[in-house]
Symmetry: C3
Subunit: 315 residues, 3 copies
């Protein structure tokens, strides 16, 4: 079966998921992102790589934060950006979703950045559009959020250089996290030997070991000797539900405090995809402390998105 993310020459056609991305493609994105880091530090933060291209932010689910990262990345590549917040209530049928996409394609769109509450929606769109069009998944249901996974692995590589001897712990609500899924695929594809997931049974997917990770329910055991700690956001709707006793209990067991972080390596880095629930999954002393690379993640995220867009536009 054909890889839906690659064209007939094996080049990146769409970015839909980190799962299924060949190792070389993944490395090509990270290396290209390196070249964009300098641009965002320059006086004039623009390059003309996407000049005259039309990038549509097609958000069927509202996310100001994610939309902004793609908008700024596209504008720094000199693209024309059109923001579309499309209420899913007006597109109840799959047909209508594709009619909307056909319409925008007919306006000579070059790229769709798609956010959708339903897993798989970006795949449906990618299968449907003409071959000069490119789709980037900006988060689909619980399935994937590949640019987040890529910026996470970019950040780890930036700080740790050699991935071949790392221990990485992913902590918290892995079950509902498309971020975790994308990152775990990136880590295993690039040969990180020791990937751990830490969380209560109710927040870890059944059979998660099959992804090549070790499972820990005790955070103290899981963090021991780690190089990288990735904290996940605990969605508000989980906190008062049946899956968790309370936010306070969660923090006690799985919140990252300076004491728990001391179990990891002395030069461990702490990551979080944002937005943070301070005092729930992470203590402010850690979030704002010397191990935190949470804000650099955001900066690298712009470079990674510029890299993905410029690679797609060139293929």
């Amino acid at each position: 079966m054909k890889n839906p993310q690659l064209n007939e020459h094996g080049e990146l056609q769409h970015l839909l998921s980190v799962e299924g991305l060949p190792r070389d493609t993944l490395l090509h994105i990270l290396d290209t992102a390196d070249s964009f880091i300098g641009i965002t530090d320059r006086e004039v933060k623009k390059v003309p790589l996407l000049r005259g291209k039309s990038v549509f932010n097609l958000f069927f689910e509202n996310s100001t934060r994610t939309r902004t990262t793609f908008e700024i990345a596209a504008k720094r590549l000199s693209a024309d950006v059109i923001n579309l917040n499309i209420n899913t209530s007006s597109t109840t049928k799959g047909e209508t979703l594709l009619d909307t996409v056909d319409n925008l394609s007919a306006m000579h769109a070059d790229m769709f950045i798609v956010r959708h509450a339903s897993s798989g929606a970006p795949y449906l769109i990618a299968q449907h559009v003409a071959s000069h069009l490119h789709v980037i998944n900006a988060g689909d249901g619980r399935h994937a959020h590949p640019t987040q996974g890529l910026l996470d692995i970019y950040t780890i590589r930036h700080y740790k250089r050699d991935l071949s001897a790392l221990s990485v712990a992913v902590v918290g609500d892995v079950l509902h996290s498309r971020v975790a899924r994308s990152l775990i695929h990136a880590l295993t594809t690039l040969g990180v030997p020791d990937v751990r997931v830490i969380g209560p049974k109710t927040l870890l997917p059944a059979g998660v070991e099959k992804l090549g990770v070790k499972v820990f329910h005790d955070m103290n055991h899981g963090l021991a000797g780690c190089d990288v700690v990735v904290m996940l956001r605990l969605q508000n709707e989980r906190m008062n539900g049946s899956l968790l006793p309370s936010a306070q209990e969660f923090f006690k067991s799985y919140g990252l405090t300076p004491e728990k972080l001391a179990l990891a390596k002395p030069d461990a880095i702490v990551m979080h995809p944002g937005p943070m629930n301070r005092g729930v999954e992470i203590d402010s002393a850690v979030a704002d402390g010397p191990h935190s690379v949470i804000l650099p993640q955001v900066t690298f995220g712009i470079a990674v998105r510029m890299a993905v867009m410029s690679i797609l536009a060139g293929n």
Copy 2:
């Protein structure tokens, strides 16, 4: 009485309605649109014709779809585009509408794209603004939607070249359609000899024959030998109301199926202004079939809007 759309040299000053547009002006817009078709196919889809101009999308009625077409057209002309969604509830008095317009004019606006639920609002604005300002009607109440009418006639001319021997059928809810009104005026102005409207009595305006069209209530009779079939959108609010028995009944009588389309000429084209109600006014087999030029309409619509804006900016 002075034509409100033309300046003292007889040049286009505002685009408010297809009705009242001189034949030469109409042809000038279509010919200019021809020159923009190539641009949207180019690698860099931009020309500097409106560089430094400020185009305001002044939408008193929400329409993401229409706003997007104008935004992309203006950006491809290198204009600065400002989107304003103005809730009509905050502008209850005509005075306030004009104060809003005066304010934006004082910011050195060059062009207003106006969408308003009240028929005539763009005329009020056009009468009020200074002579260096241009107004484009992007849909006012049931009255007019001239760029849609222009892109429809552009599409017909593109596929049929010679307009002087054509039969064009406009089918469905003509009564509530500003699209139908704009198109009928364009067709009669350019000398299309046979224009037909097809629909139930409750959805055709009284005295529609005075526009120079033939009236049919039986779709099979109306489609016979047609070169062009223009299907209109059936607004959802009409479907369960007193004007129609039901959407299913409407489809049976006036929905375009392959069987009914077979009554038209073998090379007939099928048009629809979008968004489509598949299974209500049009069958998917027709919408996606070989006669459909519904998506090319969208593509031509961008070129037509670029043409109108560049003509206005030059006058």
Copy 3:
């Protein structure tokens, strides 16, 4: 204590309030604005001063009108503009406000235009951000709206040239007006000798005389011999409340009519920050009459905002 608006070289770092701005800084802004007046009259209304800079319109309180003035000013300076309407309900904690700001800063923002319902929010942000970032207050609670104050003083200087012998009356709801506060500070800083506030006791702040103004409750006395009359908007929520008997009563006592305006100097100018309540604080005959400079205020406002942004970007 350090002036939060100036950097270590005494140059403008943030624009937070007219209060506390040195006289030289204030004059530098007005003189720079002079140089931008010509640009907005040109065929191509753009200069490349902010090319490649990222300006974020960070609106925690919705204001289409104010957002538009900053957006158009930034685009005419060739900046990339990102609009963010952030519902304050999702940022209930000060921490979260700063996390949002940290995030956007990490995307290499250059400038934040901040509108917030809480007085002081732009100060909090300005204290928090790195030194290459600039904050402009676009209105915080009842506290300040400095670009409005600056455009008001710009307008007065434009029409009256010599400020050293002027009488300026500010009329209406001074109590709830951040516009009045900003303007009074600008007037006294630039040495206008006679500044008057006119209004009912319930709408004047206690101890307003300490700002260096004369207080009048009788509008006829207050307007006598004035060079400039600045009418304030009466917020709708004040009209039916306990502070005022009714809008009609207010108009009778404090609405600016041609008769009352006749008490001012024959060449007096009339200003209003907009949007106007015609028939409440101002009669249409005055608003649209020969003394009104209400629309030029808007035009000058764009030049003043371009001046502030270009000065900040250069420091």
